[in-house]
Amino acid sequence: MKVAIEPQFCPSREEIQPISLLRPDGTLVDGAVPTMDDGEVLSALRLMMLSRAFDEKGFSLQRQGRLGTFSPVRGQEASVVGSACAIDPSRDWVVPQYRELPALLRQGLPLMDFIRYFMGNPAGARIPDDVRLLPIQIAIAAQLPHAVGLAWGLRLQRSGGVVLVYFGDGASSEGDFHEACNLAGVVKAPVVFFLQNNGWAISTSRSRQTAARTFAERAPGYGFPGIVVDGNDLFAVHAATSAAVERARSGEGPTLIESQTYRLGAHNTADDPSRYVTSEELHRREPLDPIARVQRYLSQRGRWSEDIAEAYQADVRAEIQQALDAASAASPPAPEMLFEDVFAETPARLAAQRDERLHALASAAMEAS
């Protein structure tokens, strides 16, 4: 028999089945045991609904010019909330991309700060000291090595904390993704790489982003496990993330979670998805809405009804309105903010620039009045 010159590693032929516990109709898969009790599910649902309501409100505020460009979570609520609920905000950190509002809120970020940030007010960029959260990341994938360093540092200092880092299918193509995963494997950083595969990077489809069958299969190439979950299934996401957090906390190192979800709307407030998504595709995806799925589950358990839904809806709207009012009432941004926090101490040259600028603005204001 001839010695075969066959590759030991080949792209898998079979379809990879994402782990799933909750069916779209709200029933549990046979043998599924949710890792959340009804109380936890209800509070997760509330966060998902808050997120959805904020997306809607935010779009109209953006259209009125009151908010800047932002990216809605729509369609990905189970993915974000299920994962965020698997960590402990009193010791674990979230390192976000930019599409994870409910994870930020769960960590403890006041919604008002988020709003002020998107109003362009630097005051909103200050995350309260006890909230374990890094700033929103705009440069795609750049947060991944930060998360690894943070997790590694927590381990070196024996804090017991774990880092949950979010990023997209698009972000997975950047060099930073690779460098971060490889380093995390080497130093066994307690980090969970949470890849939200939402089908798109702006207009670039998943199939154009990589020829790999799944993103999760990259994990063994860094020496750790990879798992694919149904990202529209709150329970599957929560269970997989909880397991990964557990691994990380017990010193076994990182996990890569591919959460297969779908962006049910525009990339951001400036985007027009009709240029690249067909309405048929959207129709196919709508029934997989993760919020309705959880509501069906709770209904079947007698924990959800139209009345409760309305009460929740009113409640989250009130919370948003309150945050908006607070953001609007807060002091507006001022020009001196430009020069603050460049360094711990403002160097002479920058101070001179500041004084000149502020002086000119003051004179102009005098003249104008």
């Binding site: 630097p122 193509s173 702006i202 207009s203 941004p333 620039q353």
Partner: protein
């Protein structure tokens, strides 16, 4: 001559060059089906097909790095970097490889490669989208840096860039995409590199600018004229190669000069302009050369950018100061 926006001029030029030369191909994020986040490539995918208008995976290093290989294979890639700030993800390909391939191979491998990128502030983009990094790229010997200010120059300089046998960084002012409109010559229109443009002529003072700041300079010149100060507005057009001759002779004539740019003061390209003048026009200078720039702070959030970007008032004030000197 047709009147069009800068964005339209760019799109027309890309199309014309692709029709002229089938080696020209476009690479970038969202440039295909979507036609680019600003629509600079709208319609080109359907006209030229997916082998010539390529939606790339999200990796600026590979977009630029593969363009090097494509160029070596015999093609003329035109890369779109979605925002100039993200060219930093590819700097390790641009400075040591794009800019040096000809040098490193002693002429064997020329790279007829163009990198287009929008940049600049004043339009309330999210963080890290507005940085004016042109100065940084002028430090890469072997790379040309081109900064059109008008729709006509957008066409004329982009045409030259695509045909140039060497790599060119072509920076497009975000703020000017739709705001800047103007007459654009029909048909063939190639503006040579290294020739500054006198956008307005005046004997008292020279305002040097490039890209969107040229319009600031022109507005300032208009205001100064009302006070009887006649300003020349010099649009550098290309920073590398730099038209030292026109720069020096213009400032020699006026004896006074203000330089305007959007980047922070320290080590912005304004420093090179002033240093060049301080050496070559020294004896003609009748006043210190002022720089009107952003402060030495990162580009801020949208709510405060109005105080960060250089303003017409600042240019006017500095020009008046210069007029009062000696």
């Amino acid at each position: 001559m047709a009147t069009m926006t800068m964005l339209e001029a760019i799109r027309e030029t890309l199309r014309a060059e692709m029709l002229r030369d089938d080696r020209v191909m476009l690479l970038g994020l969202d440039i295909g089906r979507m036609g680019g986040v600003f629509r600079a490539t709208d319609g080109l995918l359907s006209e030229f097909g997916p082998d010539r208008v390529v939606d790339m995976p999200l990796a600026e290093g590979a977009i630029v790095g593969s363009a090097i290989g494509l160029a070596i294979s015999g093609l003329s890639p035109v890369v779109e970097i979605q925002f100039l700030g993200f060219a930093q993800q590819a700097l390790h390909q641009i400075a040591p490889h794009v800019a040096r391939m000809r040098y490193r191979s002693r002429g064997r491998f020329a790279l007829p490669l163009t990198i287009r990128a929008p940049f600049g502030g004043g339009v309330k983009t999210p963080e890290l989208h507005a940085d004016a990094l042109e100065g940084l790229f002028t430090q890469c010997p072997g790379l040309k840096v081109v900064m059109p200010a008008t729709a006509a120059d957008a066409k004329g300089l982009l045409t030259t860039a695509i045909r140039d046998p060497d790599p060119v960084l072509f920076c497009e002012p975000l703020r000017g995409y739709r705001l800047v409109r103007g007459e654009v010559p029909d048909g063939e229109h190639a503006v040579p590199f290294g020739r500054a443009r006198i956008a307005r002529d005046g004997k008292d003072i020279t305002i040097v600018a490039w890209s969107a700041a040229v319009h600031l300079a022109e507005q300032a010149a208009g205001i100064l004229a009302r006070d009887g100060i006649e300003a020349t507005v010099l649009d550098l057009r290309t920073l590398v190669p730099l038209d030292v001759e026109t720069l020096v002779s213009t400032v020699e004539r006026t004896g006074r000069c203000v330089v305007v740019h959007e980047a922070p003061l320290t080590s912005g390209f304004g420093a090179e302009v002033v240093a060049t003048l301080a050496s070559e026009a020294f004896y003609s200078l009748r006043a210190p050369i002022a720089r009107v720039t952003a402060p030495d702070a990162p580009y801020p959030l949208a709510g405060v950018e109005q105080w960060y970007v250089p303003s017409v008032e600042q240019v006017v004030a500095k020009a008046k100061e210069a007029m009062q000197a000696a």
